[in-house]
């Protein structure tokens, strides 16, 4: 960069009109020059103040990767726990359903048998005739005369 260009850029800089690229160029030019100037000191100061750790981006990327991985792992653990719980629930429900069905079937069979026995007992029971006289009825004995 020629002296004239540098002067022009400095004028722009002090007017607050320089772009970021122009400022970088100016800082490089002045920083590399041997000449002492207030700008050289000022740019040295801003560089020191704005200095960032060398591996900042890399450290942040590693930190993020680690966290994302851990989060994924946690999610996977939660998912596997949920799937185990869901499987247990399904097994429990099926077992319960089978038990219920069995017990209902037994109840139904018992009811059917009860009904059949009732019908047999009804069939075997002698009909009450009009000319019959009941002499005695007890829990155990029934005396009837035709």
């Amino acid at each position: 960069m020629s002296k004239v260009q540098q002067e022009k850029l400095l004028r722009k800089f002090y007017n607050g009109e320089t772009t970021a690229e122009e400022e970088i160029r100016l800082k490089q030019e002045i920083g590399n020059s041997d000449e002492c100037s207030p700008e050289k000191d000022y740019f040295g100061y801003t560089a020191a103040q704005g200095a960032i750790p060398h591996s900042l981006e890399q450290d942040i990327t590693q930190f993020l990767d680690k966290n994302i991985r851990e989060k994924k792992l946690t999610m996977r653990r939660i998912l596997s726990l949920v799937s185990v719980a869901a499987s247990l629930l399904i097994i429990f429900s099926i077992t319960h359903w089978i038990k219920e069905t069995k017990s209902r079937k037994m109840e139904d069979n018992f009811f059917l048998m009860e009904q059949a026995l009732f019908q047999v007992s009804e069939t075997l029971k002698p009909e009450i005739q009009e000319d019959m006289v009941v002499l005695w009825v007890d829990n155990n004995v029934e005396i009837i005369i035709n």
Binding site: K3, Q6, E7, L10, R11, F13, Y14, N15, G16, E17, A20, E35, C36, S37, P38, E39, D41, Y42, G44, Y45, T46, A48, Q49, G50, A51, I52, P53, L56, E57, D59, I60, T61, F63, L64, N67, I68
Partner: protein, 178 residues
């Protein structure tokens, strides 16, 4: 926003945020921790980032708020944001004279009115764009440029008063602008 987009778009911003966050949090370790937390927050909000009109300004504002929250949690200082001054960062490789100059410049910037100090810091130290500074300060770009110009001139003026620089082009330029 997927991982690659996030790494290309948001993580490089850390370099700009670091000096600004260090101004709030003072120590390098605290700044790095806070910056990592902030990046994680941003990662969790990556869906939201896609809908934001000015992503850079959004990130800067979030960084600022994150610093204030961190300070609040640590109860380091009263949270009068307007009183935040630039902490001095020791310059590498410098001799006594250079160190002294850095201290001088530091004092000159610290003595500027708050608005001026803020603008010169955002632009010349943190390297923010005018759009970002507008989002941070609420000042319009032409106004920002005027403030920046005055701040830079003031720093130069003070340096020239203190040190005997060779009479060269830079001095003439300053006088012309003044």
């Amino acid at each position: 926003m997927n991982t690659e987009e996030f790494k290309n778009r948001v993580i490089p911003f850390a370099g700009k945020l670091y000096p600004m966050m260090r101004q709030f949090l003072k120590g390098d370790e605290d700044t790095k921790d806070a910056l990592q937390d902030l990046m994680l927050k941003l990662w969790n909000k990556r869906g939201e980032l896609e809908t934001v009109r000015n992503v850079d300004a959004y990130i800067v504002t979030m960084a600022k708020n994150h610093c204030l929250d961190t300070l609040k949690k640590k109860k380091i200082l009263s949270l009068d944001e307007t009183n935040l001054k630039i902490p001095e960062v020791p310059a590498p490789d410098t001799g006594v004279e250079n160190r002294e100059k850095i201290e001088r410049i530091h004092k000159v910037i610290d003595s500027l009115p708050e608005k001026y100090r803020e603008v010169i810091r955002y632009r010349d130290i943190d390297g923010f764009s005018f759009t970002e500074i507008t989002a941070l300060t609420g000042m319009e770009e032409p106004h920002l440029r005027v403030i920046l110009s005055r701040s830079r001139m003031k720093v130069r003026e003070e340096l020239v008063k203190i040190y005997n620089y060779e009479q060269g082009t830079t001095r003439k330029i300053t006088q012309e602008v003044l």
